[in-house]
Structures are given as C-alpha cells and as structure tokens.
Symmetry: C2
Subunit: 334 residues, 2 copies
C-alpha cells in the first residue's frame, strides 16, 4: 500500500529505559515504513548522532526531561524545553504531524491540551487504552484524564473511541458499550443512567451497558467509562495478569518433573502473553486534541516503540482528528 | 476449640443448582461443627425430609423462591413467603443468629435491609467480597449495593470492612486502603479526595490510597470504594481470570506433545485455581445489617456452601455486628 509521507515527532527521552530502547524502536519503525520521517526530540548528544546516521531522522533539540513521577501540569509549566513540551510545540507549529512518547502520561496530556489544544467541540480530551482481549482489541476510555465526569463527557468519549477503532484499528462499524453494573438501562450510578439515555440517542453502534467481565471477554469494540473507573480497571487488569502468571509459573515449577513439563510449554505460553500484550497496539491515544498524540507504556521495549510510531502514522494517514471533529459536530453534544 | 451453639438459617433454594448442592453443603457444615444448628428454609418437600434425617436441622417452611434475575426490591415485596424473606424474618424474630444464601445478592440485600434492619448509626449497608489475592485475602467493599456514594459512606465501609477482617478473617490490625487513581492524597475524583481526608482522621489502620493493581497484589487487608467501581472491579477480576485460564488451556493443548506435558501440570494448576477461588472464604457478607447475612456465589458447590455456613457461624461467635456498631459509634461519622 502506498503511503503518504508523514512526520512523527518521537520523544527520545520517554520511558523507563530511554533513550536506549527508543532509538532501536525508531530504527525499526523507519525500516517498516519507507514514507515515514521522524523528528527525534531530545538532548543534542542523543538526537544529533542518531539523526546524522539516519537519513529520515531530523533532530529536534530539547534540553530538559520530565520524569515519570513529576507533577504533570507543574512539570509542563516549569520545563518549557522538555522533550514532551517541545514535541507538542512541533505539532502546534505544523513541523510534525503526530507525537509519540513512552514518557509520563499526565505530562503528555497536560502539554497536548495546553500547547496543541482541543479539537473544536470537544469538552474534555480523554486517554484511551487498547485492551488486547482475545476475542478482539477493546478501546477502553477514559483511563484517567477525567476522574469526575458528566454524562455529555461520556457521550463524547464514545464518539472519540469509536473514531479511533474505525480509523487506526480498522473496525468498520464499531460497537460501543457503556461500562455499568447491570444490563438494564435503569441500573447503575446516576452518571451511568444519564449517560445511557444520551448515548442511546446519539451514539451509532451503541449496544447498551456492559459489565466488568465484558471487557476481557471483548463484548464491544469500545467501552466507555469515567476516568476513575477506567483507570482502576486498567491497572487491575495489569496487576491481576501479572499475579496470575507469577502464580502459574510457581505452580508449574514446584517439582522437578513439573519443571520439565513446563519447559515444553514455555513457548506457547510466552506467545500467548505476547498476544495479550497491550503494547502490540501502539500505546494509549490521547483523543480530542488537535493532532494525534500516543503514549507508550513506560516499560516499552523497541518493538512497542515501533508499534507506537506506526499507530501514530496511521492516525495521521487515516485522519483520526478530522473523524473526531466531524463526529462531535454531528452529535450536537457540546 | 469449644464453640457456642449457633443457629444459621440456610436458604435451601439459593444458587443455580439449588437445592441439590445446598443439602450436601449443609451436611458438610454440620459435620465440621458439632455446635452448629441449621434452620433450613425452603419448600416442605425439600426441607422436611432433610430435617427428618438430620438431628441438628430444623425445617423452616417457605413456599416461594426468588429467581436470580428477578428485580430485587420488587421480588422481596411480592414474595413475602420466599426463602430469602422467611430467612430474614427468622433473624428479626431471633429464631436464627445469621442467614446464608447462595441466591440473589440484590434480593438478600433488600430483604435484610427491610426485614432485619440496619445497625444503629449505619448510613448504608454494603456488600463486601473477599478477594483471594495470593499474598492475603482482601476485603473489597462496596461491591454493588451503593452505586452513588458520599465520603461518609466510604468511611463507614472502611470501618465495617475492617471489623469483618478483624473478626471473621482473624486479622488482628487490618490495614485499610482507599481505592484511587494515584498515591497522593490530592489525586482522584472529588469523592475519593474527600473520603481520603475523612479516613485519615477516623479510620484506624488507614494506609492511604491504593490503585487497581494493588487489589490482586494484596496491598491492604481492606480496600474501600463506591459500589459502582467495586462491582466493575470484582466482575473484571472474574472475567479476566476465566479468559486467561481458557487461553492458557488452549495454548497448553495446541499440539500433542504439549498436551502430554500439560497433563503433568493439571493438578498444580487446579490446586492453584482452587487457592484463588473466592468461595473458599465463605461468600460475600452484607455489612451494616443487624444480624450477619452472607451470600454465596450462584455457582457455589457443596464446599462453598459449607464454607459460607461456617463463615456465618464465625460472624455470630465473634460478634461481628457488635464490633461494627461499636466502631461506627466511636467514629462519630453518621
């Protein structure tokens, strides 16, 4: 397939092992996509030599770095020359089409909102996660940008999540569920009840309420909730997976014969874990800002970085932002 | 250890396979506890023959049954002679000390609140689940009784959950965490922020915020949240466990040699699943009603029924309700 050239600004300093894993991730992304140009954001000593050695990489200098544990909004204000803020300025100025970082989610959200700005009509940008349910990837949002929500926010999250599924994930008519604690429309919190009524009117593909168990079961392409519940749900899935796999490993190696049997199963189990690895889908998109911004997991390896850059390029080529703007305008919810 | 005689009303008709699994569950509970008396609630043809054959079982007739999918409050009003309502009346009248049912959680909650009544000072009774994290069992509440909560409700949930951990689970000084989306006191929804401030003043053992991943990690003995988030979290854990185990099974049997290796690992994996089975802790207690009421999973087998009856007896012997009443009074939150 022929691609239009796109320029992705990539945060060289984002992630727990940056820049070491970011640079090979950029190289892999460039190799996979001949129409990709990367604007590598970071300190001179990191980005200059890499750009000199790679034809389709331009250096974008940023002398500061925002750490994972800094207060997001404060760090963005106090570090105007940080890689995250400089990357977002490149979007604002039109020198890059999208921004990818495996750094602080909160700082990326703060910088994107302040520097890049919201899509017209969007009340609150949201952060989505692509949950790798075996049945199908599930776009879950909001996962933490908005702890307190109103019903109209959830309606907009639904529209933005569906636009992401339709464009970047290639789902032609995404189904949308509202996370709730019962199937009937009258169930749940007052927020969920009010959102249900509005979504029934205004969200194409709305299939009604879904429950906690429906997320891993892949019962809908998009699952909508407030940022408090979504964040708890996402971290719970991460935590439970890691506890269960640790328990399985210890059960499987409790005797010598079991350890031998487990050796035979090492590969299929590792393949399975990889299939269920959220990083395969390119990280968490910020939805509702004027240019695509995607955030990788702090623990991203080179493959996850490459996947995140590729998803960012897809968001540009498939006009994610235009789709969101059009759907928000058509919904009349503002 | 010497036990005081207690009478537990048991719903013969509660659960997906009732009364078939309930009766052997009752028999097992009686065998394990010589000071236990069971008041078996259900239709004459079920409870009379079983009582005739078991010395420490008395029949308590109830001609109606509330199905799992009936509207709870409505069913309780329309079926005054149902096993759930009759069981709760036995608590009110003092002919039984506690009630156990593997039937509808909502109907048990409605009947307990209406018929048995709230503990003095309790604003909202809550439903707790004992989550079998490998590190330690975690009391999670509320798991669905109260979709919309105020900060003072969460404070009371903390006190009631801690009383359950201290008595029935035997944890001498339970640690209590507030489920939130960040560690700092200023993080999270307005509800969580306000609750954090109140809990710091009024909840002994309060360790601050915990996040979604901390539930399976067993980071606190008691984790407090609103009934919306708690219900989503509980169902998500159930759903994710079952999806992961299904994936593991399919990965482990994808070739003939793997299937042979998997056979060696069947027992340790089954033992592990059993260790992580929530039913081992005796079901979900309703906290804040004037007599102990515990609810088993609808899919409970005889062992889970027996565990639920045993936990109900412990709640009576260890004066759970008195502990809750005293702690609520001492807290000054009402």
């Amino acid at each position: 397939m022929a691609h239009e050239t796109v320029t992705i600004a990539v945060d060289a300093m984002g992630g727990d092992r940056a820049p070491d894993v970011v640079l090979p991730g950029v190289a892999a992304a460039l190799e996979a996509d001949p129409e990709l140009v990367v604007s590598l954001v970071g300190p001179e000593e990191v980005v200059e030599p890499f750009a000199a050695a790679n034809e389709r990489v331009t250096p974008l200098l940023a002398s500061q770095t925002i750490a994972m544990d800094e207060h997001p909004a404060q760090a963005v204000r106090q570090k105007p020359d940080s890689s995250i803020v400089v990357g977002c300025k490149a979007l604002r100025d039109g020198t890059a089409d999208a921004f990818f970082s495996a750094g602080s989610t909160g700082a990326c959200m703060a910088a994107a909102t302040l520097v890049v700005g919201r899509v017209r009509g969007v009340l609150r940008p949201a952060i989505a996660a692509v949950v790798p349910a075996p049945a199908r990837p599930v776009v879950l949002l909001d996962i933490g940008a908005n702890a307190d929500c109103k019903p109209e926010h959830l309606v907009q999250f639904a529209l933005m999540g569906a636009a992401y599924a339709r464009t970047v994930l290639g789902v032609s008519e995404p189904s949308v569920g509202l996370l709730n604690i019962g199937e009937e429309a009258t169930k749940g919190s007052s927020l969920a009840q009010a959102a249900h009524a509005m979504m029934r009117e205004r969200v194409r593909g709305f299939i009604g309420n879904v429950e906690g168990r429906d997320i891993p079961a892949g019962a809908a392409d998009v699952v909508v909730t407030d940022g408090f519940t979504g964040n708890v749900a996402l971290k719970l899935m991460e935590g439970l997976s890691s506890v269960l796999f640790a328990e399985i490993k210890s059960a499987m190696t409790s005797t010598r014969i079991r350890t031998l049997a487990a050796a035979v199963l090492k590969r299929p189990l590792r393949d399975m874990r990889r299939r269920l690895d959220p990083d395969a889908y390119g990280g968490a998109p910020l939805l509702g800002v004027r240019r695509p911004v995607l955030i990788g997991h702090g623990s991203s390896g080179p493959e996850a970085i490459a996947a995140g850059i590729a998803a960012s390029a897809m968001a540009v080529r498939l006009s994610l932002v235009d789709a969101i703007e059009a759907d928000i305008a058509a919904s009349g919810v503002a």
